[in-house]
Symmetry: C2
């Protein structure tokens, strides 16, 4: 299994990734929803360009630095930053970024709006700001449709800014809640003379149900390009749809029903996403990855483990996005064919 | 709080780190134990040199690439690699590394020993190999003292190798078990004409009890240099002994008892180490970090959260080692004084 690739290695099967891009784009097109992929999953400019080439209206980023890495290349014309940008350093970089790409950002408080307005007051064209809305995830976001309308009015009145619409990152299973919440907010905004251009929702778990909230006209999914064990567990995809895998080598078989591989949290991470165990070993559903330390993964089985030192396994991680962030490079494959190595340009962009 | 540092940022207080180095070195010296720090916690060559300058006999690494990053500088004369090295690529690099530094490595199977022997059979000086022993952690390691003796004999007879002793990474609280296990193994080895030069154990949770296993003559701790929330929880240190903290900014206060910071799993990681919550906010014991996503951390309180957008907090992470691995640079401070920025040279070294 890929004998020339040293392990642990993160493999990306481009044939699967491209099929995933095209399948969700087709779904969005069929339902009249703008597709705006979150690049956090792959962090690779060439895949962002592939998403746009397939029909995406632009990309979603979470950090200014991620966006900078993505627009360093070409062909990315539109970026939505779904994060409150706070602080002089990031605001200055945001302003510079707005000169290079059609940029939108979100805010959920007057303090954030005021910071954006100060930075963009003398800009030649206004910055588009969406109101982040809490439709049930209880992370960021204004708490009520009334508060969304009120903040929209603050944005619309702020020098250097224009109100662009409403953004939410709902909890899994929250599609109906999004429809109710956003319908009320849109009505309130319209009544206040604040037309709502974009209503953008997201999340891979509910991506095939985006059309169940018809008020939403833009959808942000990240993980759909690679898929992962959490999405297989939720019935969103199959193992064959998982484009990102971790290739690992067995370094110890200390017991009949235990083997240790050279992939631990430094590659697979500790993310559980509600699951038991730390990944799925392809073609070995009898194995469980029951424990990780930084450089070791422990495989256990009820019967004989059936592995020897030097054997290789391929693992679908619980959460693909965070695995992309752990490695400087990924190996690109198509089936058994190795196509090359790509630097993960937006890896480690924490600011 | 450090207004000139953009967040999230990983801060390392050198005054605390140096005091931690000196305190554990003094403990080891007082008990006649060789101190061989694991560099996985800091991944910084200058701190490895500081550990050696304080009296460490050398360093411990887990990966060939970590060792390469550490000996790229100067002053590191001895490296123990506590990992089964498997595969042609890593074995070739191991051989090259052995030309630059006094190198020891471990093995827990004949297959690993055979690979090492093939690589070093024509080396000018033999590679020192220790037998990794499972004293209760059930990760890697031979299962019994008899098996340790048998593998020691295989090593001693293998071209290019010399038997160097016994290595274990015990479970927390496993000191008494180490004493029993290693005493039996040493006796068996001696009876077979295999003198045991080094018996090396490790683990930060039990580091102040290393002397309770007097058979151990070398101790490997990593986390002691920074400490972390997991070690405070175990009573190993105090908050004031924690040298690594994450500086984060409040980006949203959407509710009276909830605030969102710009540090999520991309900095703090998902490591729990048996704890509830994702870190300790210094000077705010009333706050809990109850949820992380990649770029967001959620702080909650029973009463008013008492934070505003733009405020900064300093967090002691659950697990310091994995945080070092998430960032390209750390900011060096002494108290409130910023000393500079250091690249994390051995970050992301997965192979």
């Amino acid at each position: 299994m890929f004998p020339d690739i040293d392990t642990p290695a993160v493999l990306v099967d481009l044939a699967i990734a491209e099929a995933n891009i095209d399948r969700f784009q087709h779904y969005c097109d069929a339902h009249g929803i703008a597709c705006r992929p979150h690049i956090k999953t792959h962090k690779l400019p060439f895949l962002a360009r592939r998403q746009v080439a397939a029909g995406a209206v632009g990309i979603t980023c979470q950090k200014v630095s991620e966006a900078e890495a993505m627009v360093a290349g070409r062909d990315i014309a539109s970026v939505l930053l779904t994060y409150n940008i706070v602080g002089a350093a990031k605001l200055a970089r945001l302003r510079a970024l707005a000169d290079r790409v059609a940029l939108s950002v979100v805010a959920d408080s007057r303090t954030v709006v005021e910071g954006l307005s100060r930075q963009f007051a003398d800009a030649s064209s206004p910055l588009t700001v969406l109101v982040e809305c809490d439709t049930g995830a209880h992370r960021c976001g204004v708490a009520t449709p009334e508060a969304a309308r009120d903040l929209a009015a603050v944005i619309a009145a702020a020098p250097g800014l224009r109100f662009g619409g409403l953004m939410t990152y709902p909890p899994a299973g929250g599609v109906a809640g999004v429809q109710d919440w956003m319908s009320r907010a849109k009505t309130l905004c319209a009544a206040a003379g604040l037309p709502v251009e974009i209503i953008t929702s997201g999340g891979a778990p509910d991506m095939w149900h985006a059309h169940d909230a018809p008020i939403v006209n833009e959808y942000r999914s990240g993980t759909y390009i690679y898929n992962d064990r959490s999405l297989v567990a939720r019935g969103v995809c199959q193992w064959a749809d998982c484009a990102l895998t971790v290739l690992a080598t067995v370094v110890s078989v200390p017991d009949a029903n235990r083997a240790i591989i050279d992939a631990g949290t430094k590659v697979l991470t500790s993310d559980l996403l509600g699951l038991t165990g730390h990944g799925h070993v392809l073609d070995r559903p009898d194995l469980r990855i029951d424990q990780l330390s930084e450089e070791h993964g422990r495989l256990v089985s009820d019967g004989d483990i059936g592995l020897a030192v030097g054997d290789r396994v391929r693992i679908v991680p619980n959460h693909a996005c965070v695995v992309s962030n752990m490695v400087d490079t990924v190996t690109l494959v198509r089936g058994a064919q190795v196509e090359g190595v790509a630097p993960v340009a937006a890896r480690g962009q924490v600011r």
